[in-house]
Subunit: 425 residues, 2 copies
């Protein structure tokens, strides 16, 4: 039983995709020890929230995972540096995020802009500059007009409040058509809340899948344990989604645990409460990952690809992504065509161990192919009917081992081309 | 100076893409020792050439390269088996190709169909069954109606003639919008001709890039030398093109050298004539590869990506393919948007060594980015003007080593979605 609740936009955008969440609430709960604010700084566009600030209390644990791109942005490099030496006991921390400009591939000036933002944020908030975790998302390769952001820092600090999560979630959006947030509560001896929000819809692929994810909890959990749980869950959530196989230079996930809940701190992954926490956090991360895929550029179908019977979990993951990233599979799904031949092709091109005659494919519960060819029981009408659903499940069993993985993606439509063939100019 | 001449269709198809060749001839030259024929067998569609037969004289050398897919089709498996033990001195050989049905993932029945076709072809032609090189291209996963082909074998054999290359090239097409052929002549002591044709437009990616390629020459060249040259050239031609990153289960390249030219046989790769032959053959293979990309499903732009300064040639190749396969790069090109930030992204996600600050990017001769950010001399109008051309050159220098490679691709357009979202149903 899950208590997970989704965030809904206060005013839905006119271009929201057909897969946008329909049930939820319009606010995120306060997390003791975290205050948020958002503002319109006009980084690229006027009259929209485009900068968010989070203040995290002294004593928090912070964990993170970041893009593995070799051309990652200045803010990502700074976050990795700051996280490696972070000690929450020495004072408060901050997260500063702008949308509209990714400050990626902006040379030495880009680094200078990020350093200036960190220093000015630290000064305005009263924290150490190396306790600031910055992020920038938007167009690549254009100088970040950081003075538009620094001009708003005092206002951002003044407006910090515990319940501004929905505004913060809105401020980090770029081509997203809806805000993405979720929260849950659990009992770890004391009541604990986990809340998170994310942005991303194009340039989504492992590793890391999501562009930006921020999560907060009042649970008390030691930093190494928090990092271990976040890293474990990331593999099966944000690293298991793909929209177009492209990987951002800015992908960042940062999670803060304030420790304000009335509980003894979790100091070991073997503490039974660590697993309880991981289960609840996993639900949040998986749901946010799904929300990102459902907002995939031009998406009209949400596709879960379950791979079983592979040589290893890692092999299953690679095969799942090969299917999920295949333009021919994705366009077939867009066309509601149960073209399982393209799935066979994608298994074959993955480079992973496969035995044609041991392979079986199911659309949902419908057995399509087995023993190296189409199943005698398969009727095209059954497959075609399933493909008309909005949520599609493709089950591939390799029949050669015990490895398994699930990967999520969306279809590839004219909408994707329209959005991306004229995004910048 | 090249003597390369392209094949043009006798009657251009109404849906031929904007990048179709415009200069050439409508026939392929006869190759002494090779006879061809084509017929309408109605494998999938009526009233179109869909089966071709080639007869190759006793004493020929045959080389081949094939898809590395782990779910490759029955004909591919048979070709690999037959090629491994081929000895042309023991008798003539045959190539039998049908379009309309790929006989891939068709189980034991598929193997039986391929075996029947090989045996019946051998009987009709008077060659050994293991001298038959079959191929099937078209829809995956449907039983091949091989009796429609065997019913035409006597007719195919009766109609064999040296100058039927253009019909053979037409018979192997599927979604292709134009026939793809090229030939050249060279002097290896005696005049020698090399002639080839190919098909492919979707499901094109390394390895192997092209679905089907057949090449013939009257040169006398020992089989191991021919195989070595074909394999070398394949890396830089058919394995260096990509339309959508998807790899066919049927990709096959077969080349026959009849040895009928009045020359001493080339028995070593170190024979200077071997290099002469390789240069000429390389031109044919590169041109056929380019013709495949130019017929990429929905393509409106032909894109050459030159990667230099990489850690190794192989690293340069991987980076080139990462750029060429990026949906965000391909849609930007479709939109004539000089969005070099997406190229930086694609370099970064390749997993290959790169140093952001050593990287430079040029569109044609226009320097766009260097030293980790946009070049001070770059004007967006210059980049935008180049992107309006039909042929686009992207030059990426990694600045860290001597590795280089060139990769060719096309843009990703609404046309690709339209073709692939409703190909089968």
């Amino acid at each position: 039983m899950t208590t997970l609740t989704r965030l809904l936009p206060q005013t839905p955008k006119a271009n929201a995709g057909p897969l946008a969440p329909t049930t939820g609430v319009t606010t995120l709960p306060a997390i003791d020890g975290v205050r948020l604010s958002a503002t319109m700084a006009g980084v690229r566009y006027a009259n929209r929230l485009d900068v968010m600030l989070a203040e995290i209390c002294t004593g928090a644990s912070i964990a993170g995972v970041f893009t593995k791109s070799s051309t990652r942005s200045a803010p990502v490099l700074m976050c990795q540096d700051h996280l490696a030496k972070f000690d929450g006991s020495t004072g408060p921390a901050a997260i500063l995020v702008n949308s509209g400009n990714s400050n990626a591939f902006t040379g030495k000036n880009g680094f200078d802009s990020t350093r200036t933002l960190a220093e000015r944020t630290a000064a305005a908030l009263g924290c150490a500059p190396d306790h600031v975790f910055p992020a920038s998302t938007g167009v690549i390769g254009e100088p970040l007009p950081h003075e538009r952001i620094t001009a708003k820092l005092d206002e951002l600090v003044t407006n910090l409040r515990p319940d501004a999560g929905a505004d913060a979630a809105a401020a980090i959006m770029t081509t997203d058509t809806y805000v993405k947030g979720a929260f849950t509560t659990l009992d770890l001896g004391a009541p604990v809340t986990i809340s998170g929000f994310a942005k991303g819809s194009g340039m989504i692929a492992p590793d890391m899948a999501t562009m930006l994810v921020y999560m907060f909890t009042d649970a008390a959990i030691a930093q190494p344990v928090l990092q271990q749980i976040v890293s474990e869950l990331n593999i099966r959530t944000f690293n298991a989604i793909t929209v177009d196989g492209d990987t951002s230079t800015s992908d960042s996930l940062v999670m803060a645990a304030t420790g304000r809940a009335a509980m003894d701190r979790i100091d070991s992954r073997d503490d039974p409460r660590a697993e309880q926490f991981a289960v609840a956090l996993g639900e949040i991360m998986r749901d946010l990952a799904h929300q990102v895929v459902r907002d995939g550029e031009g998406a009209t179908k949400f596709v879960a690809i379950n791979v079983t019977g592979a040589a290893s979990d890692s092999s299953a993951h690679t095969i799942g992504l090969s299917i999920a990233n295949s333009p021919l599979v994705k366009t077939a799904i867009a066309g509601e065509d149960p073209n399982w031949g393209r799935i066979v092709m994608a298994v074959g091109k993955s480079g992973e161990p496969a035995d044609r005659d041991a392979l079986s494919i199911r659309f949902g519960h419908v057995l399509v192919a087995e023993n190296g060819w189409v199943s005698p029981s398969y009727k095209e009408a059954d497959g075609a009917a399933l493909m008309k659903e909005q949520d599609i499940e493709i089950n591939v069993d390799l029949g050669i081992g015990g490895g398994q993985a699930t990967v999520w993606t969306c279809d590839l439509t004219h909408g994707y081309i329209t959005i991306n063939a004229d995004y910048r100019s």
